[in-house]
Symmetry: C2
Subunit: 342 residues, 2 copies
Amino acid sequence: MIIDVHGHYTTAPKALEDWRNRQIAAIKDPAAAPKVSDLKISDDELRETIESNQLKKMLERGIDLTVFSPRASFMAHHIGDYAVSSTWAAICNELCFRVSKLFPDNFIGAAMLPQSPGVDPKTCIAELEKCVKEYGFVGINLNPDPSGGHWTSPPLSDRHWYPIYEKMVELEIPAMIHVSTSCNPCFHTTGAHYLNADTTAFMQCLTSDLFKDFPTLKFLIPHGGGAAPYHWGRFRGLAQELKKPLLKDHLLNNIFFDTCVYHQPGIDLLTKVIPVENVLFASEMIGAVRGIDPETGHHYDDTKRYIEASTILSAEEKKKVYELNARRVFPRLDRALKAKGK
Amino acid sequence: MIIDVHGHYTTAPKALEDWRNRQIAAIKDPAAAPKVSDLKISDDELRETIESNQLKKMLERGIDLTVFSPRASFMAHHIGDYAVSSTWAAICNELCFRVSKLFPDNFIGAAMLPQSPGVDPKTCIAELEKCVKEYGFVGINLNPDPSGGHWTSPPLSDRHWYPIYEKMVELEIPAMIHVSTSCNPCFHTTGAHYLNADTTAFMQCLTSDLFKDFPTLKFLIPHGGGAAPYHWGRFRGLAQELKKPLLKDHLLNNIFFDTCVYHQPGIDLLTKVIPVENVLFASEMIGAVRGIDPETGHHYDDTKRYIEASTILSAEEKKKVYELNARRVFPRLDRALKAKGK
């Protein structure tokens, strides 16, 4: 079985974007705000956007199941206040839930949170609980920088975030650490901000003792861990300077990396440097990089090809990357599969 | 000949730091500011700090010459105003100049600039010209974020920076794009901010047409290019989405990466993915990572060992990485060497 742990609903019907644009336009005039009930998207429309996009590619590539969350760049937590974020998160999560009901064998949800800059993360708990308990979601996306590139929140190791972690531990769900659109002109969203956030999150964990407080907390750092695996020697050396334990003891019971690295040498480095137990298959398609690589003739984001072609991973190790690690990091996913006899 | 293009004076006599602390303390009371002449460091003191540190390691490791600039984390352009930065830059550059005069075969200077947040980069030109024309420096360090982690300056592709570029082209000097200390608690200085800045700078160049305006401008992106080589497929794909030329045509006549990557798999990825003409030997010792890697028994930053052990680079290619590329990217270095018959 092949599980892709990093998929976003990037192809939602246009009505969603139109509704969001009305919501944004109404920030200065709350009376003009659209009602949630103004957004009408039929099951057929949802089916169409999935069958002709993500599901089509999953079938082509041989991916069985995707952990599916709202479009990351559209979370845009910096827009408006908590009420704006809260309404928007609820809408986006519900759409992913509906997709998971329409295609229960192929999609299972992960939640975006109604984060808002300067607002206590505690305010995200109700949406989180609804998504897990009512929608059957198996994870969340946690944005370490709801300001969108200004980095005004405390580091992930700060007690600021602890209410979220307590709930994650209680509900046995991991968080993918995933920023959204950059509104800082220095940072290109998918080319700089995403990767920087991955590296930043990793280093915030490294310098702290967060996982002493939460020994079972699990973070999935996307995009192959940003710069971390490439600079693994640097990070091992920095941990040493800071008198921290070896990275495998200090972080690797809690931090995992996905395989959203879009060329063979990158995947080879990832799988050579990071213990196989910490690598989870993912492609983030249809996402930041949708084209065909002229050097291979295949889509950049067809990451299964790189895993297949790997001479570093044995068949048994590939099974861990494709399935077993995901079942361990997402216990609710494992239980949902087992309940279906899978 | 082996040239290390990335060395900082991290071991300067304590008197320098004391003077700087007095300067910082006096920001609120300019009358209390120390005079430049209060700082007294003898040639013997300089000799001692170099002979027992950088030069010792260079001789041990077989490195002939280091391009030597003021300590990056101490540039701290965010502290005080232009006058503070200007005085500090002049002092730090002069010390590197003195080192280069004391050890003319082993050190040649690169300048820090008197940058200050919100101040026109034009104000850096006088110091830059002095360093090149009077001190014989062969390059500069350009800080894309003088705010120290708040990223309030425009991207490197903005006309804001053009006065520096015009002077660089005129004087035939490259810039290493190097940030300084982070004063944003989200970003650890050497574990996140440095690497993020490398990735950010690369992407700022990718999204722009800067090198159409300056076809001979040369940027050296340190720390192995941040996350760029590891995610080379992503960047090739993003360039394609943005309808830019292939990266080799779009950026690789102007952008170069150093080898400050502190483990063998990272160096192997760098040299496999990036054309050998774009890779310059460097170690940034004695810098962020000073310890001994328990996995190898050698210093993390002894990057020559990784190049030596490379099975990807031929002997001829290693010569390019060690020497020939540096002579091409730093034409004034080449001329200085040739003037000595080297």
